[in-house]
């Protein structure tokens, strides 16, 4: 692949004696939806945390859009187009939906050292924030405090916040976690609508979603990528069957 958007090479991350990432290699093309699957404890969330900058790898390199970001702090990576959603809903509880989205917008617009103008009435924040909510179907819930939103709505807001950053790569850590079938179907449709426009690194246990959305799939087991390729190839791979899919079936 000539010009990958994200290249992870030889990334190692140890917690005590356990290697959560044991030489991970991964590349994601522009606009590609790349799913990472694997059993619990395979190191999927650790991988996302290293790409987003929350964790620093012990060894290896992470290159995003041609720049080595291995040692860049997380906020800077977010500003350069790497946005993530969290496995466990991670929102600002005392803010309303639109206030959460507006915080993402103001972060995207640059520094927040503006002390005087009232943020609540600022149309340059509220209009793009409302647009981000509308993309996930939350425009009717803009003024509801986060705590009063349903679980599915909170998950959608997670995605809206990431989208509000206008990322080039979306890091999705189990976006369907804890969702009922109807919410999950809505989420799959939402992500499907983003395909081709935003590259995605999708960590997900819901295999229906993975095989429907992913252009490529990498299988992570004990911190190592044991297979990587098109969904049909990965599904056919004997080692994958033994290590993962077989277990589930």
């Amino acid at each position: 692949m000539a010009e990958a958007l994200l290249t992870v090479s030889g990334v190692i991350k140890r917690f005590g004696g356990i290697a959560a990432s044991d030489g991970v290699d991964l590349s994601i093309a522009r606009g590609e939806c790349h799913a990472v699957i694997g059993p619990n404890g395979a190191g999927k969330t650790t991988l996302i945390a290293q790409v987003s900058g929350e964790l620093r790898p012990d060894a290896g390199r992470i290159v995003f859009d041609g720049a080595d970001v291995t040692h860049e702090p997380a906020p800077r990576r977010a500003r350069s187009g790497l946005a993530r959603s969290f496995q466990v809903t991670c929102l600002i509880p005392s803010f309303t939906a639109i206030e959460n989205a507006a915080l993402a917008i103001q972060a995207r617009q640059g520094h927040s050292f503006r002390f005087w103008r009232e943020a609540r009435g600022d149309r340059s924040l509220n209009e793009p924030a409302m647009a981000a909510l509308a993309r996930v179907g939350l425009e009717g819930r803009a003024n509801v405090p986060v705590g009063a939103l349903a679980h599915g709505e909170q998950r959608a807001l997670e995605i809206a916040l990431a989208l509000a950053l206008e990322p080039r790569l979306l890091l999705l850590d189990e976006p369907m976690a804890g969702m009922g079938p109807s919410d999950a179907a809505r989420m799959i449709a939402l992500l499907d609508g983003l395909k081709g426009r935003v590259a995605m690194l999708l960590v997900e246990h819901d295999m229906d979603a993975v095989f429907r959305l992913a252009d490529r799939i990498s299988v992570l087991v004990y911190g190592k990528v044991i297979a990587s390729g098109r969904p049909e190839d990965v599904r056919a791979d004997a080692e994958v069957k033994r290590a993962y899919l077989g277990e589930a079936a």
């Binding site: 987003s52 929350e54 702090p73 997380a74 906020p75 800077r76 977010a78 500003r79 946005a83 993530r84 969290f86 991670c90 929102l91 600002i92 509880p93 005392s94 803010f95 309303t96 206030e99 507006a102 915080l103 993402a104 103001q106 972060a107 995207r108 927040s112 050292f113 503006r114 002390f115 005087w116 103008r117 009232e118 943020a119 609540r120 009435g121 600022d122 924040l125 003024n143 916040l161 950053l165």
Partner: protein
């Protein structure tokens, strides 16, 4: 969603300032000049408490050393007066700049830690400044330093207790308005967002440290002004202004009045200091009465006294 211009917290705040403005009238009517000094002191601590609320309530930074800025502001005024600097504007400007510089230094070090460590390190810095003041024999050491002249700002004669009282009232009002402005701004949202969910703020591209540090410096500066006012009011500075119990009292004012409410800490300062004054005339063990009162308020008024006065959501 626009909040109506006239709402309950706003009315309550204006009422509060109206009552404070009437104190000199009352004191004059009933010939009780003592009330003027008491409430001037109350408002100075209210100013310090509002400044603490900016970092404690909105930034989640439990500074256990805010008396340090009170002391720095006060000593700046005292030392300049000692060396014959009569201009109040110069005294107060230096006090503000000095406390800002000290807050910048203490904040930049302390904010590398969080939680319990942050509490301890802010306390440690304040204690260092306390003992520094004790060791300054040239400026009175333990005994403190009297200030000969309160001075004047243009036509305002600070030797007049009434004029000084109203000046403090105006400064408190301005500081409160400024704090409201800051909290409602983008800066305030970044600060509050990082307080409630640092992980989320970071993921959005907000690096909390710099916002917290700036908030810390703004807070220390306002508290330094309170210190300058305290030195001017009492015509005296002493290391006791920086005692760690003083830092604790300011925290109590904020918690009692209501964290993250801005006006609440003013109520907290009034209630704490006035109760202290009343109970001290009844018994020297007044803390025995005040202690349980504090416990009850913290237990039953989740947003402090202000939550009870102004309704559930803050103003």
């Amino acid at each position: 969603m626009r909040v109506p211009v006239i709402d309950r917290p706003r009315i309550a705040t204006f009422l509060l300032f109206g009552l404070l403005a009437l104190v000199p009238v009352y004191a004059g009517l009933f010939d009780q000049p003592f009330y003027l000094t008491l409430f001037a002191r109350v408002m100075i601590f209210a100013l310090a408490a509002v400044s603490l609320d900016l970092v404690l309530g909105f930034g989640g930074m439990v500074s256990f050393g805010h008396a340090a800025y009170l002391g720095v502001g006060a000593y700046a005024v005292g030392i300049l007066a000692y060396h014959g600097v009569d201009s109040v504007l110069v005294r107060w400007s230096v006090a503000i700049l000095a406390s800002a510089a000290v807050a910048l230094f203490i904040g930049s070090v302390s904010l590398r830690t969080s939680g319990m460590y942050f509490i301890m390190i802010t306390l440690a810095f304040a204690q260092m400044l306390f003992y520094l003041a004790v060791s300054l024999k040239a400026y009175g050491g333990d005994d403190g330093l009297p200030i000969a002249q309160r001075g004047a700002i243009g036509p305002i004669d600070l030797n007049s207790s009434t004029q000084l009282y109203y000046l403090i009232l105006v400064l408190l009002g301005l500081a409160l308005a400024l704090a409201h402005r800051i909290i409602g701004s983008r800066f305030g949202r970044a600060l509050e967002g990082a307080k409630w969910n640092e992980r989320r703020a970071v993921a959005l591209g907000i690096a909390p440290y710099r916002y917290r540090l700036v908030a810390f410096v703004i807070s220390g500066t306002i508290c330094g002004l309170a210190g300058a006012l305290l030195a001017t009011l009492t015509s005296f500075v002493s290391p006791s202004y920086m005692a760690w119990t003083r830092s604790g009292e300011i925290i109590v004012m904020v918690v009692l009045g209501g964290m993250a409410t801005l006006t609440g800490p003013i109520v907290g300062a009034i209630v704490l200091l006035v109760l202290e004054e009343i109970l001290a005339t009844i018994t020297i063990h007044w803390m025995l009465i005040l202690g349980p009162v504090l416990v009850l308020v913290v237990l039953f008024a989740r947003r402090g006294l202000w939550g009870w006065i102004a309704g559930a959501r803050h103003g």
